[in-house]
Structure formats: C-alpha cells, structure tokens
Amino acid sequence: MVTNEKTPRTGRTRLAVAGARAGSVSVFGKSSPGERAGSVLFPAVLLLALTLALTGLASLLVWSFVKGYPRLDANLIFNAPSTLFPATAGFRPAILGTLYIIAGVIVLIVPLGVGAAIYLEEYANRERWYNRLIELNIQNLAGVPSIVFGILGLAFIVRGPLDLGFIAASASITLALLVLPTVILAAREAIRAVPPSIREGSLALGATQWQTLSRQVLPASTPGILTGVILAISRAIGEAAPLLMIGAVTFVMFDPSFFSGGYTALPVQIYNYAVRPQEEFRNLAAAGIIVMLAVLLLMNSFAVWLRNRYEQRW
C-alpha cells in the first residue's frame, strides 16, 4: 500500500518518541491504573479475536487435509468426475470451469472497476445529486447477498435482454457484477491515497489531466487496485449460490468451453459431493477444498507478484 502519512519507524524516531513520552509523563504525572490496565487489556482482546478467527480457519484446513489426504493424487486434477468410480474421480472440468469463469471476471472487473473509480475520484463533481446517488449505490451493492445477483443474472443475462443461455460467460458476467463494488471501492481508496502533490506537480509542469492520470496517478495506485482485484477474485472463486441459480450444473465429464455448453465450477462440485450419502464422495469433497485453495493461492500469488513489482514509495 501507499504510505504517504506514516513514516517508517527507525531507531531514531523510536528514541525520539520515547524521550518525548518520558517528558510528558514527568510533567503531567503517570496515567491512572485504569488506563494502564486498559492498554494491556485492549491488545489482549485483539489477540483473542485474531486467535478465534485463525482457529476456525486452521481447523477447517486440518479437517480437509486429514479427510482429503488419501485422495490427493494426479487423478484429482486430471480426471473427470464420476458417480460410478468415486475412487478415481477428479475435478478436471470443475477446475477448468473455475479458471475460465475467473479469467472472464478479471477481464470485466479491471477496466470497469478502475474506470468507475477514476471517474468518481478525478472527474465527478460531488455537488451533483446523480454522482452522490451513484456513490451511495456502489456502497450499498457491496452488501447485497450473492443469491440476489444470481437471480439478476438469471433474469437479465441468462434469459431476458442478453439471453446468453446457461454458459460460462453468463457466470463471468454475473460474478463480475457481484464483485465490482469491491474493486471500485478499493480502486478509489488507492487513487485517493496518491499524494495531491504528485498530481499538482504534474499539472504544474504542463501535463494534461489525462497525462497526469495515465503517467502518475494510475501507476502509483496500481498496488492498491491490485489488492482490490485480489479480494474480488477471492470472493468470486468461492461463490456457489449464484452459480447454481445461473445454471452451473453439477455433473460435467467433458472439458467446458467459455461460450457454449454446460459448465461447472469447483464450489458447486464440492457442494454436490459433500451432500452425497457415500463416504467416498465426502472425502472427495474434502480433497476438492484443497484443490480450490491451491487454485486460489496460485491466482493470488500472481497478483501479489504483480503488486510488488509496481510497489513504490515516496
């Protein structure tokens, strides 16, 4: 992230802070016992909250690994699902489906999200009612349950005006709408965090607004925008409810394509296996969770690598 307000704490600054603090304490007296207890308790509460959250995540991961471990082999990645041969069944069409859908989501959300953020931050006049309405709506949309987007996708993208049918492209568009608010909000924050001095300096040197944007503001805010994209992808990849609504089927044995035919995605396939009566399928679902995590980590580590490349400090 861009750090224009916080200065890195070196040994010198730490010494200076400690010295100033000692001075203040000697003049105004020590803080009351209650306040001192508070300064110990507060971090403890924070630590407890963090531990609780991490314990939940860790237990889920351990459970998935223990249950899915016997099934962690190449079949899991390269084989198609099977109802008759659960011992060698895999997730190949689901992995491909998820990759296609997420690739489509990225292609849609990056230009749309960044474009909307640039408009709202750099061009929109906040005095106008319609700009305030757009802002309010984007913030509200970020909190709408995903199934609502599923219904929207079914009515307007799969059927209705767009009439694309039950294909992976419809899923990409629906999920892109779902995560777009996340990207817009993150991109706005990133653009806002670019110091005004950079903008003003660029304009003062005679650059046009477009030149300032494309050569100064956007490169500087790229890491923040990429963080937003990572968050958005992480959310989109785990969504099952809207996909079920817009026709991700649970059983596809062949490799899917983006613009035609049936498709499935990892969360849908995992859910389908998890509710089967046979133990073999439930183990397969656990193994599928590990596959999904691996896919997510791969995608995100690429984005993190990109972000680090563009990271810069002033």
């Binding site: 099977s82 109802t83 008759l84 041969f85 659960p86 039950f166 079920l244 026709g247 991700a248 089927v249 649970t250 059983f251 596809v252 044995m253 062949f254 035919g261 049936g262 499935t264 389908n272 998890a274 509710v275 089967r276 009566p277 046979q278 133990e279 073999e280 439930r282």
Partner: protein, 318 residues
C-alpha cells in the same frame, strides 16, 4: 469402516455394469445403423435422482464419446421450471409432475411422459438407543403436522414402548421433492408441515449427524442415506394401517411399504426425443436402470415397472 458395504456393492456392480453396458452398446450400435451419435443433452432437476442420471450418463458417454451430457441439481421444482421453459431435455424428479407445472409446460408447448427409473423408500430415522421400533402414519402426522406442539416422545399418542426424550426433528428444505412427498403422504397436503424443525436444506448428511447425536432425534430422508449409515441410525417400521413394515428392498418393490415408498422419475421432452442421441440415451437409461440404481444405492424397479417405463418411451417416440 462402516461403508465397506457400499464399497463392496460398487466394486462388484461396476465391473458387471461395465461389461453388460459394453454388450448392450454393441447391440445398440447396430440398432442405430452404426451411426456415430453426437450432440448435447441437458438434464436438470432433483438432487436425489441426479446420481442415477449421472451414472447412466457416464456409461452412455463411455460408449458414445460424441455425446455431451450434463446433469444439474436445481431440485425437482427448479428442474421443472427450466424444463417447461424449454431449457432442458430431461427433467429429474423425485415426485410426479404437478398440475401447475403441467400447465406451464402446456403453455410453452413442451410435451412429456413420466418414466420411472428407480424406487426409493422415504425412511424415518431415529437414534440407535431409541426403543421404539414402529410408528403409525397417524403418529407421524401428530408429530409433523402444521401447528403441532409436540415436544417429547412421551406426548405421542399410543406409542410403545414409552420413551421420555425431547423430540428433535430434522427434515429436508422446502425446495426438495422429498419434503413435498412426505408432507403429501403424511400430513395430507403438500408443503404443510410444522415449521419449528431443523431445516437441513439439501444436505441429508446433516440429518444423519443430528439424529446420531441426539437421543430424541427424528429425521426423514432417502433410503440411500439410511443404507449408508445403518451403524449410526435406526430406521422405524411404518404402520400405514396394515401392520408394521420395515423399509427394505422387498417391501418397497412389492408395494407393502406404504405410504412412504416412492418412485423416482425422469421426464424427457417429446421434442428432444426426436434427436437420435436423446432417444438412444433415454432407452439406454431405462435398459440399464436397475444396474445403475443398485450402484448408486437405490432400489431397483420391478419387471412390471420396467415394462411401464418402456411403454412410456414408446408413447413419446411414436
């Protein structure tokens, strides 16, 4: 190790299946004039029936690599909604099509026939330590009817032996065909049921977990969930007026497990049946229905049911 049985069934059934399927495929191929089948077949509907359709599709695609079959699990009602909209070729259903759904189909010119592919027994499951062995449909109604205030097993009229535990009810979600069927058969009206039960949605395993951990638990679900968990839960015998009947393959097939024995169906669209790949898949499905049913943990059709299903196909293709 409790699932060694299902493993045994699958390990025995699958090679048998593969061999017979291969044999059928050869004869099927000659019937089709040696033509290579291709195209997409879209199946959607009940999640209960999906394992059957998936098994049949898997075998069929093994012989006809040009055909791409997908199976969705939108639920019986959700499946018919798409089917009657002309969006799928075959609808899976765990209950017969309803008048309202037929109306929608008629409006859009979708014609279909009901084809039974397997039998199932809605099984009432309780905790292993529960001393009760048999329950009448009247008593079930007393427990599950809308507005029922029953809190304990001891409040059920005429239940033997006496059992004093708190009732903990688990049931499937309201989109499920299982819910529709049970409420119709027991409470007399589809969709009518008390609302203060643990709604497990489509995840029947949650019902098994719930009942195996609660002494007063009761859960109703498909037979395959009971068959896979016989070491964890106990099935109650059902008295529908003619004495207590245990849910078994025999009692379901001879019709004595009443009123909770049910058939599972597929509904192919007449228009889709004009395509050679759909027609030959549906025929293949019914020809192999019993083998697939056994491999997937369902109860196979009787000879009479099979011939009725074949008649229905003939009606669709004539």
């Amino acid at each position: 190790m409790h699932n060694w049985r299902s493993k045994a069934i699958i390990t025995v059934a699958v090679p048998v299946l593969a061999i017979t399927a291969a044999a059928c495929g050869e004869s099927g191929g000659t019937e089709g004039g040696g033509q290579e089948l291709s195209g997409n077949i879209l199946i959607d509907g009940s999640s209960t029936v999906a394992p059957l359709s998936e098994g049949a599709a898997e075998l069929f695609m093994g012989q006809n690599p040009g055909v791409k079959i997908t199976v969705g699990t939108a639920g019986t009602g959700g499946g018919f909604e798409k089917f009657c909209n002309g969006e799928t070729d075959i609808s899976d259903a765990s209950r017969p099509i309803e008048a309202e759904e037929t109306k929608l189909c008629d409006k859009n010119g979708v014609k279909t026939e009901q084809i039974a592919v397997a039998n199932d027994a809605l099984t009432v499951m309780v905790h292993k330590d529960n001393p009760v062995d048999c329950i009448t449909t009247e008593q079930l109604k007393q427990i599950w009817e809308p507005g029922s205030k029953l809190k304990s097993w001891s409040e059920i009229d005429g239940l033997k032996p006496a059992y004093d535990e708190k009732l903990e009810l688990y049931g499937p979600g309201t989109d499920s065909g299982t819910f529709d069927y049970f409420t119709e058969a027991i409470n007399g009206e589809e969709g009518a049921q008390r609302t203060d039960y643990n709604n497990i949605g489509e995840n029947d395993n949650a019902g098994i977990t719930g009942v195996s951990g609660s002494k007063g638990g009761m859960f109703y679900g498909g037979y395959s969930y009971y068959a896979e968990n016989k070491d964890k839960v106990k099935a109650l015998e059902i008295d529908g007026g003619n004495g207590c009947v245990e849910p078994t393959i025999e009692t379901v097939q001879d019709g004595s497990y009443k009123p909770l024995g049910r058939e599972l169906y597929i509904y192919p669209a007449e228009k889709s049946m004009e395509r050679p790949e759909v027609k030959s898949f549906v025929q293949f499905y019914v020809d192999n229905a019993n083998k697939v049913a056994e491999a997937a943990g369902f109860i196979s059709l009787t000879g009479q049911q099979l011939s009725e299903s074949k008649d229905a196909i003939a009606k669709l293709t004539s």
